[in-house]
């Protein structure tokens, strides 16, 4: 029998809310598999001027959706984590090597997700986890790069997130990463498209409010990749960015573009202190 991993009051509320649109208990805690204690509320990092507390997107979902993330057997995203484990151990590319040839096991990479995007000295740029993975695939294993938001890549990022679950997001925003971070911040506050909306309009000024049927969260990315009930698959961070920018009736940037890397670093830094939660479950 699976342990229902809710604490105290939260356990009661999870059972008592049934309507699909029911908003979840704001005091709920997130403990996965009865053992990974997630930090889903944290004091806002010093660089954030307009907010005092940062909150995981999990808090803004209905109790039914929340419940799916409490146990790996319930979390549909974990199926692809298992797929990625196989890929991790399989030889590919011209050198006949696997990820495991250099990294032993996925668990050996615990902590990595928490600090990406990260400055890469050798390439002189900020790299997302996807870029780092593709660097291994192409430069070290002699293979073809994986599609940026394709299944193989998303699954691997889900695996790497899963082994870091519970660790605090802690991306560096100073030193050589600073100019990229500033570019991301500018993008976050730019009102784009014919609707002239910025990320901040929805996720800073209006989190907790409803926009039509959607309960707005802070747009944090500590839970990525996310399994969405809406499309029944794992979704990469840049796919979500693209959807949100498109919804402002704007021309989007491409997944993997310098703009989205910068935006990712900035948004990640807004969640410094929250736990790595991926793969999480959202509606």
């Amino acid at each position: 029998m699976k342990a229902l991993a809710l604490k105290g009051v939260a356990a009661v509320s999870a059972l008592s809310f049934v309507a699909a649109s029911a908003l979840a208990d704001e005091n709920a805690n997130l403990v996965v598999n009865g053992e990974i204690d997630m930090t889903i509320r944290a004091p806002a990092p010093d660089h954030m001027e307009n907010m005092s507390e940062v909150m995981s997107g999990w808090l803004f979902r209905s109790s039914e959706t929340q419940a799916l993330q409490l146990d790996d057997f319930e979390n549909p995203g974990m199926i692809w984590v298992d797929d990625a484990r196989e890929v991790f151990a399989s030889e590919s590319g011209s050198g006949g090597e696997s990820c495991a040839s250099c990294h032993d096991s996925p668990e050996a990479l615990a902590g990595v997700r928490a600090v990406y995007p990260k400055w890469d000295e050798e390439h002189g740029e900020v790299q997302s986890l996807e870029m780092q993975i593709n660097e291994c695939v192409t430069e070290r294993m002699g293979g073809e790069p994986w599609k940026y938001t394709g299944g193989t890549m998303v699954n691997m990022t889900a695996l790497l997130a899963s082994v870091s679950r519970g660790m605090a997001v802690n991306v560096a925003i100073d030193g050589p990463a600073q100019s990229t971070w500033e570019m991301g911040r500018d993008l976050y506050y730019t009102r784009t498209g014919q609707l002239e909306l910025s990320c901040a309009n929805c996720h800073e000024d209006n989190y907790g409010n409803m926009i039509r049927a959607d309960h707005l969260s802070q747009g944090q990315i500590n839970g990525f990749p996310v399994y969405r009930l809406k499309n029944a698959k794992l979704n990469a961070v840049h796919s979500r960015f693209k959807g949100c920018v498109r919804d402002t009736r704007a021309q989007t940037y491409s997944p993997g573009s310098p703009e989205f890397i910068a935006l990712e670093l900035y948004v990640a830094s807004r969640g410094n202190g929250l736990s790595v939660e991926g793969p999480s479950v959202r509606n």
């Binding site: 309009n201 039509r212 021309q251």
Partner: protein
């Protein structure tokens, strides 16, 4: 999977032909407070049509952000902006026209989109495709649709 949060489809292409008596978006004059004195279409507004525009995703979709009790049969209402109940008691027809056409002239920096504006956007898209806009943009609502919405708002008097 192309559901969008606001204004799902561009059903507004009909406004391409600028009708006689219509003021083009770039020719609209706002007073200091953001109000527009005269009808944009040259004709009176139809409150029934305005009511439909208010609640329809592909049109005004005003209830994405506003609560309107009279439209409570239509799910779901957002709470980004104030409730529009009794709004006719707070603003005149001229002021409401200005707010719907370009709310930023009345409330600087407001989140409310400008429904009768076609330029000055950053990275405008081709509807909700995520691709760059091609050619001239259509306003989100036509001149007549703005008048219809204003006519509907004028029916929202405090009970």
């Amino acid at each position: 999977m192309k559901r969008t949060i606001l204004f799902a489809v561009g059903l507004i292409a009909a406004s391409t032909v600028v009708m006689a008596g219509t003021t083009a978006p770039s020719d609209v004059s706002f007073d200091d407070q953001g109000a527009i004195a005269n009808t944009l279409s040259g004709a009176a507004g139809d409150p029934e049509s305005g009511k439909t525009i208010m609640r329809t995703r592909g049109l005004g979709n005003c209830i994405a952000c506003h609560e309107v009790s009279e439209l409570s049969d239509f799910p779901f209402h957002g709470d980004i902006g104030p409730s529009l109940d009794g709004v006719a008691g707070r603003w005149s027809a001229e002021e409401l026209r200005g707010i719907v056409a370009n709310a930023k002239m009345t409330f600087p920096d407001t989140m409310m989109p400008a429904f009768y504006k076609t330029d000055g956007f950053i990275r405008p898209g081709n509807g909700f495709t995520g691709k760059a806009a091609e050619g001239e943009l259509e306003p989100l609502l036509s001149a007549q649709q703005i008048e219809d919405v204003v006519a509907y708002l004028l029916t929202l008097k405090e009970e």
